[in-house]
């Protein structure tokens, strides 16, 4: 964009005039002692994490039999949680990579926190396949490692194995991207801590900064690597959830086997990811007083993405429904009628109203800028997207091809605790991040400052010819 900026162009960071102010605002919480509010929040999430640990221990000790699964519904809560968390993990990389390629300046304030969210969400997701194995100590069998087990080998035809590759690739690239983006900030914090005589802190950040010196050469390498990683990460945004969708779509189960699944899952993942971004950022900007960096304009842009992706998800729901009818296949038609009006009708309509109808109120500018309402809607989106996966998975299974095998599924307390506990795992990580690492990308926000007040124009807006 250079120095020529339209007078009507949105300015993202306007209430801060100095670079030093930004460094101070972002670094201070890292250097200070944790405040009471943080301790309380962290303690609560740690408690919930203990619930997770307890429920998982019980599952592994006693076996998968502690869950509510039956012969007909052999996949339910566990895989729902898995897909839910992978989905949450999509917004971060979209913001850091795709929005970078699209030159969206507003990503600068929010990329750090959302990338962190991505990584923690993928960690949560990764737990579930391991738990579901029942014998997690055999988790290494996921990998095509040379072994002495004879013909026992991973099944390359299985989309579940593709998941292993897709998610581990995604996780690695996201982690590297996230870490790399923090290095310049680590350098700044290291130097600040040194000046303040914080010996241990400055040592730790010196290690983390890996000798960042802020020289021209370092910066030019940094920018090149960022772009290469952004280009690598962009297809990954699409591939991960496409592969996840194939866990279902490669089957011949009506309601699972449908060709639109890959892009539809990706749209849903971005949607749910942005829902979670709203939830977290609203809390963060309030608790850390980051309103000058994560402004209402940022929240408005996020809300616009939420409408777009929510409507895309709605379009996909309707397409599926319509094509089920259009196919003329009795199984397809039945499964969709059953989804909406069968025994799990309530789950379907929770999904539909939370994902398609609620976000539509973001069409109003006032609501996009109202943080209380946005927060409530974001919670609805999180609920709706969890139910989307539940609906897809359970309603397609519970009425088997033989009516004698029809069954209902009810989760046991163990499964419910694992789901609740996974939020503990997520928030424990997130609060640790929010306390000990820079939650906003300091140097990228700095690039948004100091635009010329009034660029020299050859014409004035509003002036005829």
């Amino acid at each position: 964009m250079g120095h020529h900026v339209s007078p009507i162009r949105q300015q993202w960071v306007t209430n801060t005039d100095y670079y030093a102010q930004i460094t101070e605002d972002i670094s201070r919480p890292i250097e200070a002692k944790p405040n009471l509010r943080w301790i309380a929040a962290f303690a609560l999430s740690f408690l919930v994490l203990m619930l997770f640990v307890g429920a998982v221990t019980w599952t592994i000790w006693e076996g998968i039999g502690t869950w509510g699964l039956n012969k007909t519904v052999g996949w339910a809560f566990d895989i729902t949680n898995f897909v839910f968390w992978v989905g949450i993990g999509h917004a971060g990389t979209l913001i850091s990579a795709v929005l970078l390629l699209f030159r969206q300046a507003w990503r600068n304030s929010i990329n750090r926190a959302t990338e962190a969210m991505t990584i923690f969400a993928v960690i949560c997701a990764g737990m579930f396949p391991i738990i579901h194995m029942g014998r997690p100590w055999l988790g290494l069998w996921f990998l095509p490692l040379p072994n002495t087990r004879g013909s026992l080998w991973v099944n390359f035809n299985s989309p579940l194995l593709w998941d292993v590759f897709a998610i581990s690739t995604y996780f690695s690239v996201s982690l590297v991207f996230w870490y790399l983006g923090m290095m310049p900030d680590f350098g700044s914090i290291r130097d600040r801590m040194k000046r303040q005589g914080m010996k241990i802190g400055s040592k730790i950040f010196a290690l983390l900064a890996m000798g960042w010196d802020g020289s021209n050469r370092t910066w030019s390498r940094y920018e090149l690597v960022s772009l290469v990683l952004a280009a690598l990460a962009t297809p990954l945004v699409l591939s991960v959830h496409s592969i996840v969708s194939m866990d279902f779509a490669t089957s011949v189960i009506p309601g699972w086997h449908t060709t639109i699944f890959p892009p539809y899952f990706v749209a849903g993942a971005i949607f749910s990811g942005f829902g979670m971004v709203q939830t977290l950022l609203i809390v963060q900007r309030y608790v850390y007083k980051h309103e000058n960096y994560i402004t209402l304009d940022h929240m408005e842009s996020i809300a616009k993405i939420v409408i777009a992706t929510g409507s895309l998800v709605g379009l996909a729901y309707m397409t599926e429904f319509f094509i089920a009818w259009y196919s003329g296949s009795i199984w397809e038609r039945y499964i969709f009628i059953n989804r909406a009006f069968g025994p799990y009708w309530w789950a379907y309509w929770i999904m539909f109203s939370c994902n398609v109808i609620t976000p539509q109120i973001f069409w109003f500018k006032k609501i996009r800028r109202n943080m209380v309402i946005t927060f409530i809607i974001s919670i609805f989106i999180n609920i709706g997207m969890w139910f989307e996966r539940f609906v897809i998975i359970v309603t397609s299974l519970h009425r088997d091809f033989l009516p004698s095998s029809w069954a209902m599924y009810t989760p046991s307390w163990v499964e419910a605790s694992i789901l609740a506990g996974s939020f503990g795992l997520f928030f424990t990580f997130y609060f640790l991040f929010a306390k000990f690492l820079p939650t906003i990308n300091m140097f990228e926000v700095k690039t948004l400052l100091h635009h010329p007040k009034q660029p020299k124009h050859t014409f004035e807006v509003g002036e005829a010819n």
Binding site: H4, V5, Q10, T250
Partner: protein, 466 residues
Amino acid sequence: MAHGKHFTQEELTERLVIPQKIRRTIYGAIGLGLVLLIFGLLTAKAPSGHVDHDTHDTHSALVDNSSLHKTGGQDHDQHEDKEHGHDDHGEHAEEAHGGGHGHGPQHTITKYTSFFANFLLNNLYFLTLAMGAMFFVAVHQIGNSGWHTAIKRVPEAFTMWLPVAIVGLAVVAIFGNQLYDWLAVPEGADALIDKKRAYLNLTGWVIRGIIFLGGWYLAARVLRRFSLREDELGGVSFFKKSNGVAAGFIVFFGFTYVLFSIDWVKSLEPHWFSTMFGVYFFAGTMATVSAVMGLFVHFLRRLGYMAYVNDAHVHDLFKYAFGFSIFWGYIFIAQYLLIWYSNLPEETMYYDTRFEYYHFWFGLKITLCFIVPFLGFMTRNAKRIPKMFVPIGILMICGHWVDLFLMIMPGSVGEHWHFGLTEIGMFVTFAGLFALVVLTVMSKANMVARNHPYLEESVHHSTGAV
């Protein structure tokens, strides 16, 4: 690079005058196209029922494959099937589809069928350009994009092709029963089509067509009128009003483009269904229109216009071409892989027909729509240097034609596809008309949206290091 140069209001005021040479070339192309077309038509023969043995064998093998699957057979070798694949394919197809009808269209194929199919193809081809351009304009409008302002009049002019497309599709509709099984086959003859008649019927089809095309054209007109009024009056009010229209259009477009692709393309094979189809149609649209816009802008710059457009704009357009062709590849493989993997006969039949009679075209499609742009546009310079982007762009243009050919022909003419003078002639005629319409529309207004609030950003656009 124009970066840093200031443009005065005089420099930003320019009208396109179509040079005589170009005008003559276009008329010549249209004339030549028509001659080829007429000659092709005169020499056309009614398709014979003959199928050569090689393809017949493969055909039976594939049909066998799906019918066996249906009766429970799973892991079997295709080569084995080839050996005993000499039975009459009709019988097998009947088993396979359950609907009582085999591969290929059920309507009578006359020597004009392929003409109408070809006419439909070209109408859709240029309609996708107009609609892709419309989507481009609308998305950049609501995305607050600055960079595209300098080239905005090009996609705007593309959208003004819509009236021609509407006339063309109306003609197709009149002769619809030449192409669409569900229009040609009487009620009661095909159980599966009968199940869909609530949607696939003449009245509904025509009404939907009017709503879709009318709505798109209305939105295109309004956006263009706002844009032109802004040239005269300035101010940001037109820009702000355009936001609402663009947002409304995108929502309308999302739903209608999916249904449109079903109505006009997918329903050529009314037994087959795929939820992905609309997305696939959209992906091809966007990849092609990006390349065509890039070539058009390059062409206008070569003529000496648009001094305020620099390599960065062209670069960005071909970035889109690159990105969307990857997206096309992704959508293609996702649809194909899922159908292949599940191996359900009601879905695989779509690819069966294509593998049997269109094997060459299938490979050509993947090459031109994905492999060429993917490898070709990978580097930065390829998107900036005409020696690279012109040939790659032209190959992409051909690729979209092949893609539509593969979507349309198997359902309308079955195995009797034809490629020759008629096809080339018709495409050349349409391309000439399209160029004429777009250039004429462009000549009616200033070449650049000179009072657009983001124009200053756009004329100083730079992609930076990448």
